[in-house]
Symmetry: C2
Subunit: 241 residues, 2 copies
């Protein structure tokens, strides 16, 4: 049942503090919810306009009205269902050939888009600095379009991680080598920095290779970080295609 207490709890889940307190986050939309049982995430409870559309499992599904759905949804235009899920347990995948590393990404849309890109290119893990936006932020989950179910996202002290990584550390830099001429090694970290400020100096200091995406036009802005990630991954995988 959707009690007043539950509504209050769910509404608080847009804040990391409360997601951690209750160990819960929300997933919206049947399309993504149907994929949860194939992931390591556990559904606690589902609220749906039409429970017949929802997979069954070891959880309750409650039919609710559009009015109640609006109360618990974080979307401007709520979809069909909301699944209340438990936060995933942290695991760490070591020794991956390509490791995406994010230093201080703040925009939830950017993290979500980069998770979606990792999923597209079959990159199993993203390592984020501790100040990167939280994976379970409703806007990150939404922007990832279900890809958070397949891409492992972990938070680490990047200086510590990179210092101990024996793979190349490749980052973007305006004065780096032309992306299209760069020969990527067998195993590397691809490090992307904050939207406005790039990566922190202590991260940048650990880079072993610097690349740049050449600009052919007169654009006065750099590319958005998720677009840059897409173009770089596209180039890397062009040699595997």
């Amino acid at each position: 049942m959707l009690t007043a207490h539950k509504i209050k709890v769910f509404q608080s889940l847009d804040k990391k503090k409360f997601r951690q307190k209750y160990n819960l986050f929300l997933v919206e939309g049947n399309k993504t919810i149907k994929e949860i049982p194939n992931s390591h995430f556990k559904i606690r409870e589902i609220f749906s306009l039409d429970p017949s559309e929802i997979p069954t499992g070891d959880f309750d599904t409650t039919k609710i009205t559009p009015k109640d759905l609006k109360k618990i949804s974080f979307l401007q235009h709520p979809k069909d269902s909301v699944a209340v899920c438990e936060l995933g347990e942290e695991k760490f995948l070591a020794n991956l050939p390509i490791q995406i590393v994010l230093d201080g990404i703040q925009d939830p849309g950017n993290l979500g888009t980069i998770i979606r890109l990792a999923d597209w290119f079959g990159i199993p893990q993203i390592i984020c600095s501790e100040d990167t936006v939280d994976l379970y932020n409703p806007k990150v989950i939404q922007a990832s379009m279900g890809s958070f179910l397949r891409v492992n996202v972990v938070y680490r002290d990047l200086v510590e991680y990179l210092t101990h990584s024996d793979a190349a550390k490749i980052g973007t830099d305006m004065d780096g080598e032309n992306l299209y001429h760069h020969k990527f090694p067998e195993k590397f970290n691809l490090i992307l920095g904050n939207e406005g400020n790039g990566m922190r100096p202590e991260t940048e200091r650990l880079l072993t290779e610097k690349i740049t995406i050449p600009r052919f036009g007169k654009s006065t802005e750099s590319l958005n970080v998720s677009m840059a990630t897409g173009i770089i991954l596209g180039q890397i995988f062009s040699h595997k295609g």
Copy 2:
């Protein structure tokens, strides 16, 4: 002066109907506003928290309060200034080597991002189907980050345009040739379709070449159209880099 009448007019400019009626649209933020005098767009009037930050020219600049700025801004967090500009005159650039063509793009953020990409790669024009979101939509202008000043965006009947274009017509298709193996001709149209439905059958019928971005992972969603555009352009320009 910022009269009540002007406030009412400016607030109506989020609708295409009123932008056309008044022949006006808004540009927000000093960074972009400073670039307008280098473009073919004409500033009618500027409202700014600090006019000393603004270029001078053949227009009035009025100092306004944050409270008044909030009234005329379309941004959730208004910036420093709003420029009231006249809609650009339609011109058409013929015979470009690379011509981006958009069929029914609805999301303003996607059009803005694709304009930004065109600017980055030095592609001077985007041809949109008549049902593509309007260039002067405040969210398109915002997402383009000033690139609308350098990229010519025109609206055309695509069937008519493509039928008469003597360049190759290349579109994305799930069953198309691997992007990374495709040899792009000297001169071509790159056609991207609507976010949910792809391109219309009457446009698709005119394609001469089909490409696909290979998926390496288990992602269940296709790539966002602006991300797909970025990856394809990245690949095309990798041969020019």
